[in-house]
């Protein structure tokens, strides 16, 4: 295996991993704070990609403006879904999971009816390539990698240092105690849904020029996110980052050396992690 080939596979893995990180971080945030497996998260990602497609290809909006707009639109949608559908089932374990599944089916199904099953594509923003040790890396992918890293750093800093971020962590640790300290649980949840959905929207917008856009993206994405967050530790953002990168590298190297059968590895990792370390590689006991 030559160095350039290795770098190629490595960068592919990094790229794929950051894709998973982008989608899984918002999903994990919701579970960590609201104790909800938000199956609709993948559909928000799908809608983010479609929003970018419509804005760029049909309305001629600048790509970066479309990225911001998609984040805002999807964040607003997330808040609406929370207010009308998730909040009534907030403290009920199983019903909240089922309502999230229902919303995912509804959005995915409507997406199929409205947009049709044909693949759409968003024209690339950057077209050049960079050569590193003989490996060819597209600029487009480098931009996505940098943006993903930027978003993750911003999210981590926000949760760690901002007042509202600290409120989120307080609610995640002990909802009643946080409420007694005067933290509005409901407004914290609303904010958490907005941030998580904005991240899904950003993921959709960032990945739209790289992959095809179609209404089936959502379910596929949320299942990947589920795998990632279980490996990393449900509810942990560092866990989602580590789990996403790990899955990205496993799949990239697996596809190169093992072929198609690689898609099974993620699920086997989930089973092994849940059997031996149910809190995930980076979760707390």
């Amino acid at each position: 295996m030559t160095l350039s080939f290795f770098i190629q596979v490595f960068v592919n893995g990094l790229m794929l991993g950051l894709t998973y990180v982008l989608i899984a971080s918002g999903f994990s945030l919701i579970y960590g704070i609201m104790r909800l497996l938000n199956f609709a998260h993948g559909e928000f990602y799908m809608l983010g990609a479609f929003a970018t497609y419509l804005l760029c290809e049909h309305l001629g909006v600048n790509y970066f403006a479309a990225l911001i707009l998609s984040m805002v639109i999807i964040a607003a949608l997330g808040v609406v879904v929370y207010r009308f559908f998730f909040r009534p089932f907030r403290d009920q374990h199983d019903p909240s999971l089922v309502i999230a599944l229902a919303i995912a089916m509804l959005i995915g199904g409507l997406g199929l009816l409205i947009f049709g099953e044909k693949d759409k594509s968003v024209s690339p923003v950057f077209s050049g390539v960079i050569k590193v040790f003989g490996a060819t890396l597209s600029q487009e992918r480098m931009v996505v990698i940098l943006m993903a890293i930027f978003l993750m750093v911003a999210l981590t800093l926000y949760i760690k240092f901002s007042k509202t971020g600290q409120a989120m962590r307080a609610v995640a640790q002990d909802r009643e105690a946080a409420a007694l300290q005067g933290i509005g649980v409901d407004s914290t949840f609303t904010l958490c849904m907005a941030i998580s959905s904005a991240l899904a929207g950003a993921a959709g917008a960032l990945l739209a020029p790289l992959f095809f856009v179609n209404p089936f993206l959502g379910m596929h994405a949320v299942l990947k996110a589920l795998v990632v967050v279980v490996i990393g530790g449900l509810g942990s953002i560092p866990g989602a980052i580590a789990g996403g990168l790990l899955l990205g590298f496993v799949e990239s190297f697996g596809n190169t050396f093992l072929g198609d059968i690689t898609e099974i590895l993620g699920f086997i990792m989930v089973m092994i992690v849940l059997l031996f370390r149910p809190q995930g590689l980076f979760g707390h006991g």
Binding site: L37, F89, L101, A102, M105, G109, L226, I264, L275, P278
Partner: protein, 313 residues
């Protein structure tokens, strides 16, 4: 026979008499499909009765379908032997999976059932030489003639699935009324409390899981031999989600919930005469309406109409 006996007997007589009134293959096919779903969804309900949500029921239908396909086509067994074996094999796989995983509480069980279901589906996809791969396996034989009844039209299939459903129903009623059923619901109410009074909750959770997957296996086996075809496309995460929501729409609190949910969810898209693409949207809307307006499922509708607010867990 009292009033209670009549309420149970009337639907039974009506179902037995259906082919005397109509032999329309389309209608019989709908009823057979309902029967296939019901058998599997009863399995979801018994697992739910211990407070576990499975997101991988389709995997056990797949195990049943492929086990009985291989047993009849490669081993040469008769359907009548392969069919119960398919249930037992599904149940055995559930035991292997359930034993280590059911100690993990809450949402993790749902995730692990889902992950395992995807593993099963991907094994089928990636093992074309034995399991037919993406294309599936065609020409699965229909059940061989028994008591000089040959399975050449839909009517014998109708009676067969009716018999299977009746058997499943009787088992479910028996479980509900027995000590085991009481223990299941005590675990559902509070597993810590159940454990504190000396109930081996692991044993009962595994029992419920194996029992539920047994019926998924039977349902899968019938499916394969009825359609003469099986493919991994039938056993995706969607199939598992449908099993779960059919149970919830019908009402997981009652033994009549699964067949009611299966019948309703099979009939609605047909009655609306819409294309298959609309199915997820329709199912999602029904599910959302049920969750907001009738959390106990359709089975609680008569009580609700009579104004009795029965509390359903």
């Amino acid at each position: 026979m009292g009033k209670r006996g009549l309420t149970y007997l009337t639907p039974m007589v009506a179902l037995v008499a259906v082919p005397a009134f109509t032999q329309d293959p389309y209608l019989l096919n709908l009823l057979i499909t309902t029967g296939i779903w019901s058998t599997s969804v009863w399995g979801v309900r018994v697992i739910m009765s211990t407070g576990q949500l499975t997101l991988g029921h389709a995997a056990y239908m797949a195990v049943g379908a492929y086990a009985s396909t291989l047993l009849t086509m490669k081993v040469g067994l008769s359907f009548w032997l392969a069919f119960p074996l398919a249930g037992l094999i599904s149940s055995f796989i559930a035991l292997l999976i359930g034993y280590p995983t059911l100690r993990i509480k809450g949402v993790y069980f749902s995730i692990i059932t889902f992950a395992f279901a995807e593993i099963i589906r991907l094994i089928i996809v990636h093992w074309p030489s034995l399991l037919g791969g993406f294309g599936g396996i065609a020409n699965i034989p229909a059940p061989s003639s028994i008591f000089s009844i040959s399975f050449t039209s839909r009517i014998p299939f109708y009676y067969l699935i009716l018999g299977i459903s009746l058997l499943t129903y009787l088992v479910m009623v028996r479980v509900d009324k027995s000590r085991i059923g009481k223990i299941f619901s005590s675990i559902h109410e509070s597993d810590t409390l159940a454990e504190s009074i000396g109930i081996n909750i692991m044993k009962y959770k595994v029992t419920a899981f194996c029992l539920g997957c047994f019926f998924a296996g039977l349902s899968g086996s019938f499916y394969a031999h009825y359609f003469n075809f099986t493919s991994p496309e039938f056993f995706t995460i969607w199939q598992s989600i449908y099993c779960l929501i059919f149970a919830i729409v019908g009402g997981a609190g009652s033994v009549w919930g699964p067949p009611l949910g299966s019948l309703f969810m099979t009939l609605v898209p047909e009655l609306l005469r819409v294309a298959r693409e609309y199915e997820p949207v329709i199912y999602a809307i029904i599910l959302i309406l049920i969750m907001f307006l009738l959390p106990g499922g359709l089975i609680t509708l008569p009580d609700r109409l009579r104004g009795k607010q029965k509390k359903v867990h």
